[in-house]
């Protein structure tokens, strides 16, 4: 399993190089499946956000990079479909492009559909932004909760063992300071990273490293 967990997509050449290296082939030869589902957790904004993401019109570059082919993997639809309608498409893809929005909403539908169980053994690279990155962590922390899951907690999928505070020092998000991230991390009980929009966390077979043209900090 290869993961490239970004805050805001493929924002700079360092992150793009890291992604191409994980893909092992040019972007133009890769089949991509886009996962918009987290967007809907932040409806009504996310209803238009999903369209911008899928059409490459968001401020978080991902779908518009020149993929060989593109498809939509709608995670909320999967639980009511026969697995043969979607599992082969996932296994044949080179990359999953996972939009942001609400990470617990995405985690819920990934569990319900069985996609969460497939992720650790997947061959496509998981390239995600914001909530699409946070969904793989053990927990997101109460600060980031919007959608309330059935179990009421802040537990995500725990496929990696650290939590992520994205968009640190983003000018439109004045609460996302490094001091706030430090406080957030202190309440988690597991390691964490705070990353800005020019930073990504790369995970290959359990080995974690950070790719950045901006700033980030590791906690715990």
């Amino acid at each position: 399993m290869k993961l490239l967990l970004t805050s805001a997509g493929i924002k700079n050449p360092s992150i793009e190089s890291a992604m191409v290296e994980l893909l092992g082939q040019p972007i133009s030869e890769c089949g991509a499946l886009c996962i918009p589902t987290a967007s809907y957790g932040h409806a009504p904004r996310g209803i238009h956000g999903s369209y911008r993401f899928l059409t490459g019109g968001a401020t978080t570059p991902m779908v518009e990079l020149g993929w060989g082919s593109l498809g939509v993997l709608e995670v909320s639809a999967l639980a009511t479909l026969d697995q043969e309608l979607w599992v082969p498409a996932v296994q044949e893809a080179d990359v999953l492009l996972v939009n942001g929005g609400d990470s617990l909403y995405l985690a819920h539908h990934m569990r319900e559909s069985g996609l969460a169980d497939l992720v650790p053994s997947l061959s496509p690279v998981w390239v995600s932004l914001s909530a699409g990155s946070m969904v793989l962590t053990p927990r997101i922390g109460e600060d980031f909760k919007v959608w309330n899951p059935p179990d009421g907690g802040d537990r995500a999928l725990g496929i990696v063992d650290f939590s992520i505070f994205p968009h640190v020092d983003h000018p439109d998000l004045p609460e996302n300071t490094m001091a706030a991230a430090e406080q957030w991390a202190a309440g988690l009980g597991n390691p964490a990273y705070a990353i800005d929009d020019d930073t990504a966390i790369r995970v290959v077979d359990g080995t974690v490293d950070v790719v950045s043209e901006g700033h980030w900090q590791q906690f715990g």
Binding site: C34, A43, Y105
Partner: protein, 220 residues
């Protein structure tokens, strides 16, 4: 609610003029929501077709690419896990719903489960259906068109009192002949229309009108 039930979207000027008439204002002044849900349920559609339809690059069934003022994605499978106030006001305000094709029984199921089916009579939006997005309004689709196994069998929403056989004489669908449509209609209790890809059925306050630059037939 006003309906424009097409076989393959806004394929010609007559259908486009009918659409503008139903909207009551130019396309560029209308807010649109695309409903892709049926695409995920049908083996002939799937992830790539879903991306082409949502991104407005599926030239076979023009809907999203017509130049709407805004476009959002209303994913019905996502709605039951959201509070209604996150999506209902937007649906009430929208000018048009662009309902993509795929599996009509799957779409019908999610129309009911999401609660959108119950809201239809109170909505101002024009419903523009493509293929299964049109068939879903019928009382039944007929066994020939059943793929996804619905608890409701071939029963769909019954918003109109006729059934629809789309893609008549489409060269890519050699079984969609008029003879086949007549056999299909003979098994249905109510009236039916067979329409080709250049034809649409408009329904306004119960008045049914066929708009066509191609072929169609009313079948009893």
């Amino acid at each position: 609610m006003k309906l424009l039930l097409t076989s393959a979207g806004i394929k010609n000027d007559s259908i486009r003029d009918a659409l503008i008439g139903l909207l009551g204002k130019p396309i560029s002044e209308c807010d649109a929501l695309c409903i892709p849900t049926a695409l995920y349920g049908h083996p002939y559609a799937g992830p790539r077709q879903a991306w082409r339809c949502i991104s407005g690059t599926e030239t076979g069934t023009p809907t999203v690419e017509l130049g709407w003022k805004s476009v959002g994605v209303l994913e019905l499978t996502a709605l039951p896990s959201l509070d209604e106030e996150r999506w209902l006001p937007l649906v009430r305000e929208t000018d048009v719903l662009l309902v993509e094709g795929g599996d009509a029984a799957y779409l019908s199921h999610w129309m009911r489960v999401s609660g959108l089916a119950d809201l239809l009579p109170s909505l101002n939006a024009v419903w523009v259906g493509v293929s299964a997005g049109s068939m879903v309004m019928a009382p039944r689709i007929g066994d020939d068109f059943v793929n996804w196994q619905s608890p409701a069998g071939d029963a769909t929403l019954g918003v109109v009192d006729f059934s629809i056989f789309p893609h008549l004489d489409n060269p890519d669908l050699p079984r969609n002949t008029l003879a086949q449509a007549e056999r299909w209609a003979a098994d249905l209790p109510g009236p039916a229309y067979a329409i080709d890809d250049e034809t649409a059925i408009s329904v306004v306050d119960g008045a049914v009108d066929v708009v066509s630059e191609g072929n169609w037939r009313k079948l009893q």
